[in-house]
Amino acid sequence: MILTILKKDLKLFFSDKKAVLLTFLMPILLISLFAFAFGGTGNSSNKTQAIQLLIADLDKSTESTTVVSNLDALDEVRLVPKSLDEAIDLVKKGKYVGVLILNQGLQDSVNRGTTLPMELKYDASRQIEMGMLQSVLMQELMSTIGKKQIKTKMNSYFDENFAGMPQHLKNKIMSDMDVTGSKSSGLGLKMTSVIKEDSKKGNLGLIQAVAGTAIMMLLFSIAGIGGGLLDEKDAGTLKRLLYSPLKATDILFGKMGAALILAILQLVVMFVFSWLVFGLPIFKDVTALVLMILATAFAVSSFGMFLVAIAKTRQQLQGLSTIVILVMSAVGGSMVPLFVMPAIMQKIAVVSVNYWGIQGFYDIFWRNLSVIDILPKMGVLLGIGLVMSLISVSLFKKNILKLIYA
């Protein structure tokens, strides 16, 4: 008896090709995705991806040129020369991790043994990349100009305090002190965040948690709300709606409108909660926040309806939405901050609604960008929403009879 039931259930399961795909293929895809996300692919050498660093050489001296060419020769760093203002703007907008500024007087400082006028301005939202970059920079700068600077400084010290000390003895002392080492003391690389600290700035972890989670949960909610359409099919009310003077598109647009309103409400509730409980500064730029919420809600609700338009049953929608939303959230930075992912994953992230939403909220709360600066991201979200809506309408019109008679 049990065997009969077992055989029947297995037969039923394998007759549903979509269920089979969701069960076996999707976990493989997810495993691959997370392996990529956490850099677990490739050979055992674990060769890291080059970090793009902006360079602004204001000294234009022999020493500064040597520094630039030595840094450019490193595997770990790819230098992108820019003017100072442009470079700072790009870092502020989150396009690059930071800019190394070689200020005027670098050559003189090396020759005089004084503090080197170098500065690294960086995006504090990309702390992990910054940590890696800092380590590479310190090592390289110390081995090039740092060594020269310390030698000069020590020679001056010996001359002032031990006049007449033989040169071979000075060299012996400097060799014993290992001035070519990687210690950064005395190098004087000033490190500053491009975003000025102010009392209204949000906590980086909080912004990531709120924006990432809010968008992921919103996707799940909208898929659920849109799924009501499939429930209406099962209940027969969809058919009855079609008996009325309503058009098929009226039904879909009505459902999309409801999903959009609920998406806006959900985002508002999440941000207000984050403000009340965690102190997220939601009033620092209300216009930008409202526009970003509207754009995100539109993109997410349209995407949810797109999933509904593809699925024929609640079960299909449930499986499909779980997989697609989890993948999109993983890729787009809802689950893990993008800056911890390899560069390739950061490039792939742009296909996800989550990416544009999260980056938009970063721009508001962390990068302090103006509405004008955030408009392109809002535009992308609106574009995603529009494309998804058009596809959903087309699919729904095409499939409505199949929906009724399925």
């Binding site: 209940a235 027969g236 009310t237 058919k239 009325s244």
Partner: protein, 308 residues
């Protein structure tokens, strides 16, 4: 003429659900579409109620070509679907308000119509209860009311009594009869022949997507050539008695030598036949009336039972 259908056909992939059917329905008629499950009744209703496009043929609703004037046709018809198509989490009143508002009935008018319809279906007291708390029969009644809020001239009822108890079924019949008395043309699909016999003026018998016969029940009986009969089992009948009986009334015999079958109008001729038997000194052990109904007509026309 309220509905005129000519040469209507519809296929789903390789299955031809409706094959070249034609019929007309006059104003105020109750027209029955009778056929077994899968015969093509619902497909025909779905085409007439605009949600399914026909492959061929034309449908005219109160003179309007359905293909050209779909929106006007939608206002002329009300459809009671086979499923209970209501929002379970809404109250009866809210459901009716919602379905009525889709036809842009002014709120004040709609409220009055809801009140009247709730009265008609006997659910005024339960109007503020959630649909999910209703019995199957009550849901069926609200299902009918939801199709009447825009005051359609034609009401399509697609198997409206599926799964209801006999008492609720009778209540639904009464509602339909009341609506018809008010001048609404009714198109009724079912596979229960007793429902058609009770409600319908004219009937179309549909099987495998084709209309096999249509007309009044008497006309269908004529077409099917099925005649009423009385089967009589005698205690004993001798050869001479058989000959005597045959001279007075023609009969057929079967495997049982003591049993005869006499074709007649049962209501008019039964007493006369019994008198003849008595005159022939035949003692009747058992008597069975074979009346003609739609079931027998259907069987005769299609060669299968209605509920096959």
């Amino acid at each position: 003429m309220m509905i005129h259908v000519t040469k209507l056909s519809k296929s789903f992939e390789n299955i031809q659900a409706v094959k070249d059917i034609s019929f007309s329905i006059e104003k105020g008629e109750v027209f029955g579409l009778l056929g077994p499950n899968g015969a093509g009744k619902s497909t025909t209703i779905n085409m007439m109620s605009t949600i399914l496009k026909s492959d061929q043929g034309r449908i005219y609703i109160d003179g309007n070509d359905l293909n050209k004037n779909q929106n006007d046709c939608k206002h002329l018809i009300g459809v009671v679907p086979q499923e209970i198509s209501l929002y379970e989490e809404f109250t009866a009143y809210d459901n009716l308000m919602f379905w009525g508002s889709l036809y842009k009935v002014p709120t004040k008018v709609l409220k009055q119509r809801i009140s009247d319809l709730l009265e008609l279906i006997g659910l005024t007291e339960r109007q503020n209860d959630l649909i999910k708390t209703f019995s199957g029969g009550m849901k069926r009644r609200i299902n009918i009311a939801a199709a009447l809020l825009h005051e359609p001239k034609i009401l399509f009822l697609d198997e409206p009594t599926v799964g209801v108890d006999p008492q609720s079924r009778n209540r639904i019949f009464e509602i339909i009869e009341t609506l018809n008395a008010k001048g609404i043309t009714i198109v009724y699909t079912t596979h229960y022949m007793e429902e058609v016999e009770r409600l319908c003026n004219r009937i179309a018998i549909i099987d495998n997507g084709e209309i096999i016969a249509q007309g009044t029940q008497a006309e269908l009986q004529k077409m099917s050539r099925v005649k009423e009969a009385v089967e009589i089992l005698f205690t004993e009948i001798s050869t001479s008695q058989k000959a005597q009986l045959k001279e007075l009334v023609p009969f057929n015999t079967n495997a049982n030598p003591n049993k005869v079958s006499i074709e007649c109008d049962v209501n008019k001729e039964l007493s006369k036949i019994i008198e003849i038997c008595n005159a022939c000194a035949l003692s009747i052990e058992d008597l069975h009336l074979k009346k003609v109904n739609l079931e027998t007509i259907f069987l005769n026309l299609t060669g299968k039972q209605l509920r096959d």
